[in-house]
Symmetry: D2
Subunit: 139 residues, 4 copies
Amino acid sequence: MIHPIRVIFGDTDQMGVVYYGNYLRFFEASRAALLRFCGKSHRDLDAWGVALPVVEAHCKYGRTAHYEDLLEVDVTVGEVRGASMRFDYAITRGKDAIATGWTRHAAIGPNGRPRALPAEFVAVLSSAAARTPGLGPGY
Amino acid sequence: MIHPIRVIFGDTDQMGVVYYGNYLRFFEASRAALLRFCGKSHRDLDAWGVALPVVEAHCKYGRTAHYEDLLEVDVTVGEVRGASMRFDYAITRGKDAIATGWTRHAAIGPNGRPRALPAEFVAVLSSAAARTPGLGPGY
Amino acid sequence: MIHPIRVIFGDTDQMGVVYYGNYLRFFEASRAALLRFCGKSHRDLDAWGVALPVVEAHCKYGRTAHYEDLLEVDVTVGEVRGASMRFDYAITRGKDAIATGWTRHAAIGPNGRPRALPAEFVAVLSSAAARTPGLGPGY
Amino acid sequence: MIHPIRVIFGDTDQMGVVYYGNYLRFFEASRAALLRFCGKSHRDLDAWGVALPVVEAHCKYGRTAHYEDLLEVDVTVGEVRGASMRFDYAITRGKDAIATGWTRHAAIGPNGRPRALPAEFVAVLSSAAARTPGLGPGY
């Protein structure tokens, strides 16, 4: 799924580019949008009895991004194991490759212990991620 | 002008609400959107020979805002003096008043010294602020 | 009380100066240090049965601050009313006045309703704020 | 080298723990401290004719970190290749392992093109990183 990000002043640093740590904010915004698009917000993950804390994050930086750039974050579901999953991200600005990365998440049950991911949950996420909806301001 | 903001995890703090300092990010995002809507980005302010550094900022907090809230920032042009101007902000979530505030900006010329704001610049901004365009994802 | 802040890259924006919204982080860091110095962390405010949510914030910007600057935030207790109080801040770098500001806080009891500030609490805070301890890395 | 970080409210998110993206801020703060300790700030890298933009970042999360925690970031010089280098980080709170990670940096010359890292620069950094100075508030 494509999630748009408009770069603001507060995202940049004194090199005149987006601060490297802020890409993890962009990743998070896009995976929240994906969950929301599934009708399953982080809030609603409760309904599945699953929490998805980040256990590992990675980012590889390409072309620099600047103030006012309209970036697109393409978020997809990566490797799914029994009790963990990965989201993959590719950030572009037009044809420029800005950054790629991934986050790995543990699947935790209501009791705070690892649990298997519900197959239906993964299916819903994956099929949503494959779509590219026309996104309005309330995306 | 109305600028939408979707609250992400990274905007919240451990009280479960938007961190108080992040409202200044929301203010900035909305005034950048206003300038952009005028076809006058911060970048293009050069064309007017004007920079607008913030010299004072104020925020009054109302109802708390939460993760995934879709906030609306209404940004308008406040008091304009010879060599400074104010932007006013009102943030709402549906009928809830979340925050109000303002930022005051000095008008600085290319030589780094105070200068009078061009009347046309102020007119363009003010009339743009009065409108509420339908905003797409690239707002 | 004086609280030191070392400016990092992530605090700056593309103008090469500290982003205006980050001063509210610096304010918060200093008032947390003050509470800690009183042996009363935000956590421990529970012991007094008081929460202090920010209801208003103000910042006036002076000289710009830059990457690697070692700033000093002087935090003091401002006006105390029945059920609210103010913290005042003055940020300097050597003899340069960088910013001044204040935050106003409601005093909220365990039931979520306004309550009177315990006189002893205010006295402890005020006398701590008046001191300038030698601060080590664990300040 | 050990660099202390005090967690503030603004670092946390609504899960009551440090937001995952902020660890990249902590990494940056520690490597800036290391360069400073060598008498070679990012500013002074000019003297060496070297810029070190981040090209890749990685973080693995362990125990969660909370408001007011005093974290220690142990930053060391990792693999050095001809025209790039890595910094490695291990964040602890007492005996708790909070996070580990690394950042890889390209070495760029004044003309914006890759260049070999000066051997002396690498030697100075590496020996500084191996030390654990007593750090004052101006660390």
